[in-house]
Point group: C2
Chain length 246, copies 2
């Protein structure tokens, strides 16, 4: 069976306090069928949840000032990245790789800068992307009458590989993994190490249909055989004690 | 526009020396249109290219013997992983993360074990996945009369994240990146850091349509606006000198 990714068009610019679930439903309710799921970029979730900070309101620390001066960065943006981090993993060459409050290891703690509304504004990650995903999934299910899993995504860099790809930050209504452990390949070999991070793959796939500059914040995925599950996107974060690159 | 991923069914088990391009064409020629691309799992490429090694033929080194004994591994498999590596990045807890001859950083140097044909057999990565992809793309173009980019993929683990996702090892006929640098978002903000690793995202997406145990080695992707390019999958490998996690 084919898998189809369809961008949801016509969703207006999201503002703090907007009813994002309602806006997604307006765009998608007639297009949803049982079995579908939605991938939603974190940016609209963050905006609706008011996770925007005017840079002019930020007083940078000495560390932020020094790092910013050395690498030609905005010290207020550096300060925000530090505030959004629970731990700095690498801080070099003008790049900050840190572990966010959610445990996500990424560049700049997921802080994006934009010029929304005149002055420079930073968009932070949602406080709890799994809760955000659950809230959207609950509203959508109530409206359409069947379960529609929701993946909230952001684009991350990777160690060892160039370019960024979308990953899943928040997941609701589906198992974030497809577990092949215990299954056997056609030769009877136990595929025990194979647990696919399907929610990450769905996030990556959605970006291909989304584009970056076209203002499409959500993609409908049809034909992926998701299984119900409540582990959330947090299950995709490897605990530091199990990581060879902590 | 929607993006559609369609598994190519009915491709028989690939054997060393098989004409993989011919087999893909048999399954896909009638299904291809201009604009399509193919994602092919490296396993069938490796098999067709004869990159199979019988474990019984391997004489393990002392290092392989010691590591295997400590962690309950097959010393011959460990030896093969070491032979396929140009550099060991981490070797702990029974896991070997290494840099392959191609520069790819991954677990076990991409060596897969299976029981193909009775005894234990290791399947190695293709010697030159970009050359493999180019060979397939050339044959397919000659047969169908238009360019069909080819992505050769494998599933990799990641630092900091649980589960595996498919990535692109070899790429032919398309730019492996979608470059948003220099473009501007709706607020005029320069998206200068955004270069999407589209070939990796295509590989990840293909796995969603492929499944792991169903023996589907290739997926047709329709609706992705690829641009021609010859950088290859090698461009997705970050040079160690630019990496914060070398």
């Amino acid at each position: 069976m084919s898998l189809t990714l369809t961008p949801l068009e016509g969703i207006p610019e999201v503002q703090p306090g907007d009813d994002l679930a309602g806006m997604l439903l307006e765009a998608a309710a007639d297009l949803l069928e049982p079995g579908d799921l939605l991938v939603v970029t974190h940016k609209v979730v963050s905006k609706a949840e008011g996770r925007l900070v005017a840079l002019e309101s930020i007083q940078p620390s000495d560390l932020a000032l020094r790092f910013a001066r050395r690498w030609g960065k905005d010290p207020r943006a550096v300060e925000l990245v530090l505030r959004e981090s629970q731990e700095v993993v690498r801080m070099a060459r003008g790049v900050i790789i840190s572990r966010t409050r959610h445990g996500q290891v990424c560049a700049n703690a997921g802080v994006d800068l934009s010029n929304a509304g005149g002055g420079q504004v930073a968009c932070l990650l949602p406080l709890d992307p799994d809760a955000s995903a659950r809230g959207l999934a609950r509203r959508i299910q109530a409206a359409v009458g069947f379960a529609v899993p929701v993946v909230v995504c952001d684009s991350f860099g990777r160690a060892w590989r160039e370019g960024i790809v979308n990953v899943a930050l928040g997941v609701a209504g589906m198992d974030p993994f497809t577990d092949y452990r215990g299954t056997r390949d056609p030769h009877g070999y136990d595929l025990r190490v194979s647990r696919m991070a399907s929610a990450d793959a769905l996030a990556a796939a959605a970006e291909l249909a989304m584009g970056k500059v076209d203002g499409v914040p959500a993609v409908r995925v049809r034909g992926f055989p998701w299984r119900p599950g409540e582990a959330g996107g947090v299950a995709l974060v490897r605990p530091p004690e199990n990581d060879l690159f902590p």
